[in-house]
């Protein structure tokens, strides 16, 4: 093996290249991209448009990084892949041979053949060229329509809003992102988006995009009502799909994406697929066949890089987690969350009266073991939540120590008490008292009291034992968290 070639300089392809370099000092590594000269954080595209960062700021590595790690960057479009001859044909006529090939082809945005989808001023948003196009398309306009209620849709609405463009936002569903968010959280986002002055219309679809004589968008006609919303820009954000057209004439097996095993190997030996374009033959438990997420892309890159270097480790993503930010409301999720009521799963939900903070904890109804955390406008520690979920910690234990999970900045109001109160109202016979607030920032008095206690009764290890006034259920004394005490 002399030459590893990666197509695509997104997070998964770049992670594959970096992993190979970490494990092998000698192999030649080339990364080919048609999109940009350097790796950048795709998730930060919105901040360039909003004027928070320049494009250079979104590049996680400085320019010296690539020559020093001997990762060759090639700007070019791969037109054909010859898997027999292990050769890539680039648009400019160049050919590049490879011994191992990693496909990090990414996604394209969905178009469903809507009338008017090809008009000027109508586009989706995935790539840097898309962003440049949006920059051109939205200069000096005053009204835009965004279609589709996912993460990119809300980002696009926020981007346009930051440029003082009045935005009508059409979402087919009744609550926001019902596949990921329970109704309460979904409605919280709906209210928040409207509070920002976005003309958000839930349960609304469009029928056609209308153009003027010059072929430029002039309005969107809504289904049912027939109302025409005048606009000079339409953002189409109704999902993405793997960007695999380039593989049509190759023997590489594809479904919706490139079919891969647990080492990210495709059907052709020596060829791997990572990131948004990969589709698992056997999805890991609790995972979708295609995972267009930042951190799974990183994991894919590491898995492929390790297999290439002969130190394989299968893709085992573990518990689900994710995060996002909807205008000003941050969102974190750890573990599976029931988006609709499910038999056998109970859910504890607390929401602040200002509608900007919410904490949800799902647990099994029978033994009250914790299943997952859904946080809105509140930060929780991933490692603490994961340990509780993985060890099957029971709710009384979790709630007593809930403060350990809190990751909000110092001086922020902590709401764990209110969460515990909700549980106590639901289950008066299991009433719990919150013991710990933060895990690192300790109450000095509690700390001194505990030291005294330990001095008196050395056999006790304070933290892992349940408080005496708690209705102890079996197993609740499991050491549930990575206490730093």
């Amino acid at each position: 093996m002399n030459h590893v070639v990666v197509i695509g300089n997104g997070i998964s392809g770049i992670t594959a290249a970096r992993t190979v370099r970490k494990l092998n000092a000698d192999v030649r590594i080339t990364v080919i991209s048609a999109e940009t000269d350097y790796f950048f954080s795709r998730t930060a595209l919105m901040y360039i448009y909003m004027g928070h960062m320049t494009f250079e700021d979104t590049q996680p590595y400085q320019k010296w990084f690539w020559p020093q790690n001997r990762i060759d960057l090639v700007r070019g479009y791969v037109q054909a892949i010859d898997t027999e001859a292990r050769t890539l044909h680039l648009g400019d006529g160049q050919t590049i041979g490879y011994d191992r090939l990693v496909l990090g082809l990414g996604s394209s945005y969905n178009l469903f053949g809507w009338p008017g989808q090809d008009l000027h001023g109508v586009q989706g948003l995935i790539s840097k060229p898309d962003l440049d196009e949006m920059e051109r398309n939205t200069r000096g306009i005053d009204h835009a329509v965004v279609v589709g209620g996912g993460l990119i849709g809300i980002e696009m609405a926020e981007m346009l809003h930051s440029r003082h463009v009045h935005t009508t936002f059409l979402v087919r569903e009744k609550t926001y992102m019902p596949k990921a968010l329970p109704a309460e959280e979904g409605m919280m986002i709906v209210r928040h988006v409207k509070d920002h002055g976005i003309d958000l219309r839930m349960a609304t679809e469009f029928e056609a995009i209308l153009g003027d004589d010059a072929g430029r968008v002039r309005a969107v006609r809504l289904k049912d009502s027939g109302e025409e919303v005048a606009c000079q820009f339409v953002g189409l954000t109704v999902g993405v799909h793997p960007n695999i057209d380039i593989l049509k004439d190759t023997p590489i097996e594809t479904g919706r994406g490139v079919m891969v095993d647990e080492h990210m190997q495709t059907s052709v030996p020596g060829v791997y697929a990572v990131g948004d374009c990969a589709q698992y033959r056997v999805p890991p438990p609790g995972r979708q066949p295609i995972e267009p997420l930042w951190y799974t892309g990183r994991m894919h890159g590491e898995v492929a890089g390790r297999h290439i270097c002969g130190v394989p480790a299968p893709y085992t993503p573990g518990l689900f987690f994710n995060s996002a930010k909807f205008f000003d409301i941050e969102y974190q999720v750890y573990g599976p969350i029931a988006t609709k009521p499910i038999d056998g799963i109970d859910s504890l939900y607390w929401e602040h009266e200002n509608g900007l903070h919410a904490i949800r904890i799902d647990y099994n109804a029978d033994d009250h073991t914790v299943r997952g955390f859904n946080l809105m406008g509140t930060r929780y520690r991933q490692n603490v939540c994961f340990e509780w979920i993985q060890n099957g910690a029971e709710m009384p234990y979790v709630l007593e120590n809930l403060g350990q999970a809190n990751f909000d900045p110092e001086f922020y109001k902590q709401h764990e008490k209110e969460v515990v109160a909700v549980y106590n109202r639901k289950h008066p016979n299991r009433a719990v008292t919150l013991r710990r607030r933060r895990s690192l920032f300790k109450n000095p008095f509690a700390y001194i009291a505990r030291l005294r206690g330990e001095a008196g009764r050395t056999q006790e290890t304070g933290d892992s034992l349940p408080a005496k006034n708690v209705d102890v259920t079996p197993g609740s004394d499991k050491p549930g968290s990575g206490s730093t005490a």
């Binding site: 970490k22 928070h52 494009f55 930010k325 000003d328 974190q332």
Partner: protein
């Protein structure tokens, strides 16, 4: 395959609403009255100062009120990279020249500021019982800047209790310890002393000349020496052990206070390159070495009755005062805000920051914790780090950030869109450097054959 098509387009305009325009107009009128009074050698000082200061402060507050309070609370950095004020555009350069020019006049040609100095006479008589001098003028401008821009900071970050409390703290210390108390001391014929500045930032507080002078000025003077020595040698290491250098740099210090208020619009201009970091380490530790050697030499000289340095001892301290005290901390430190960011002095020059940094790096419980695998490498943390730390470098690897230069302003944590970063004081040990639970299969667990050069030179983030 288009190369950055956006460059070919004119930058989007930053729109101002009516209230913002009114605020700017009022501010402009205030500025105008200050200039007129300057030209008229003070004119009528009471009228000039009430008009000049009243209108600039009032106009500024109207502008910030309109800009921030009209929108929901949250991170509002919209348009910063487009604005000619905050992205090294023409307004930024003009401001840089104005700030720099003011410092040059203040330090070396104070006579030209006579008209402005006279404006502050009424305030000076009230507070200190005597006429103003150039340093009183400077203190007045400085305090007004910290207070007014402090209110802006609070408006802007009003969703963050950490930012509110921290900003109130620097405003309090500037108004009380940096302005009012020194003024009252003058009023009561005591040495003008700043209880919130210590050696080696206020380098002459431990010089033999100052110590002798304070000793001779009676009980209060002796207390001042005692206070300065205790703060430098006992309080500083203890507080830094528990809270990191932020207890001083972003909560108490006047230089830090100005950077965190007047400098906030420019924090993103700090240089994040590896090269800048190298220069920073060389420069700041050289200044620390210089002031330490100078202080020691002055004391040895003093003990030897001047046999070591002779008459040159004054020259040595004057050279330091000129190069570091005036040129670096003033002219470059503040004058270059709109060009090099708000912490040029704190990052490259301040010997106090150097000491606190060494303590923070090696003997502190402070760190910025990274939350598992949520980082998306967006770069907001690095962009808005006024100290030029590439916070993302650590965050995306799941590593905690323990860097000598971090002043703990907390803005990286505030701008993070995924809840990844948090300032914490906690037990030391391996946990201080590494996130307890890396999510990715490699990053830490893979045996590294060829370490990336970045990881080597970020010697502060060595894994166990």
């Amino acid at each position: 395959m288009t190369h950055d098509a956006s460059f070919s387009l004119a930058a989007p305009t930053t729109e101002l609403d009516t209230r913002q325009r009114i605020g700017l107009a009022v501010f402009g009128l205030g500025l105008l009255s200050l200039l007129v009074a300057w030209a008229m050698d003070g004119g009528s000082p009471v009228l000039a100062s009430s008009l000049g200061f009243g209108l600039t402060i009032g106009g500024g507050l109207i502008y910030f009120w309109a800009k921030y309070l009209g929108k929901p609370a949250g991170i509002r950095n919209d348009g910063l990279t487009f604005s000619p004020t905050t992205s090294k555009g023409w307004i930024g350069w003009i401001l840089g020249v104005v700030f720099t020019g003011f410092y040059v006049l203040l330090y070396w040609i104070p006579g030209t500021l006579e008209g402005l100095i006279r404006i502050t006479d009424p305030l000076s008589y009230t507070l200190r019982g005597k006429a103003a001098d150039q340093w009183f003028l400077y203190g007045t401008f400085y305090t007004i800047a910290v207070l007014t821009m402090g209110v802006r900071m609070i408006f802007k970050y009003r969703h963050s209790k950490y930012q509110i409390i921290r900003t109130l703290s620097v405003m309090f210390f500037q108004l009380g310890f940096g302005f009012t108390i020194p003024g009252l001391l003058v009023m009561f014929n005591q040495p003008e002393f700043y209880f919130s500045y210590f050696w080696p930032l206020k380098y002459d507080y431990l010089f033999p000349g100052t110590v002798n002078y304070l000793t001779q000025s009676g009980g209060v003077g002796v207390f001042m020496i005692f206070w300065g020595a205790v703060m430098t040698f006992i309080a500083t290491p203890v507080l830094t052990y528990f809270f990191g250098k932020r207890w001083y740099c972003s909560w108490v210090c006047g230089c830090g206070g100005l950077a965190e208020t007047l400098g906030d619009p420019y924090r993103q201009l700090s240089d994040k390159s590896m090269k800048a970091w190298k220069i920073e380490r060389w420069m700041i530790h050289s200044v620390l070495l210089w002031v330490t050697v100078l202080t020691a030499a002055l004391w040895i000289n003093s003990a030897m009755d001047g046999a070591l340095l002779g008459k040159a001892s004054r020259t040595y301290s004057k050279v330091y005062g000129f190069v570091i005290g005036a040129a670096f901390s003033g002219v470059i430190g503040v004058g270059f805000y709109p060009i090099m960011g708000s912490r040029v002095w704190c990052r490259f020059g301040c010997p106090m920051a150097a000491i606190l940094g060494l303590q923070q790096r090696f003997f502190s419980r402070f760190r910025i914790s990274t939350n598992g695998g949520q980082c998306i490498s967006c770069g907001n943390c690095s962009k808005y780090c006024e100290m030029g730390i590439d916070v993302r470098w650590y965050a995306q690897r799941g590593q905690n950030i323990v860097r000598a230069s971090c002043v703990g302003c907390g803005v990286c944590s505030a701008v993070c869109p995924r809840g990844v970063l948090n300032l914490e004081n906690g037990p030391r040990g391996d946990q201080r450097f590494n996130s307890p639970g890396p999510v990715f299969i490699s990053t830490d667990s893979v045996r590294v054959l060829t370490e990336e050069p970045g990881a080597q030179s970020t010697d502060l983030a060595v894994s166990k």
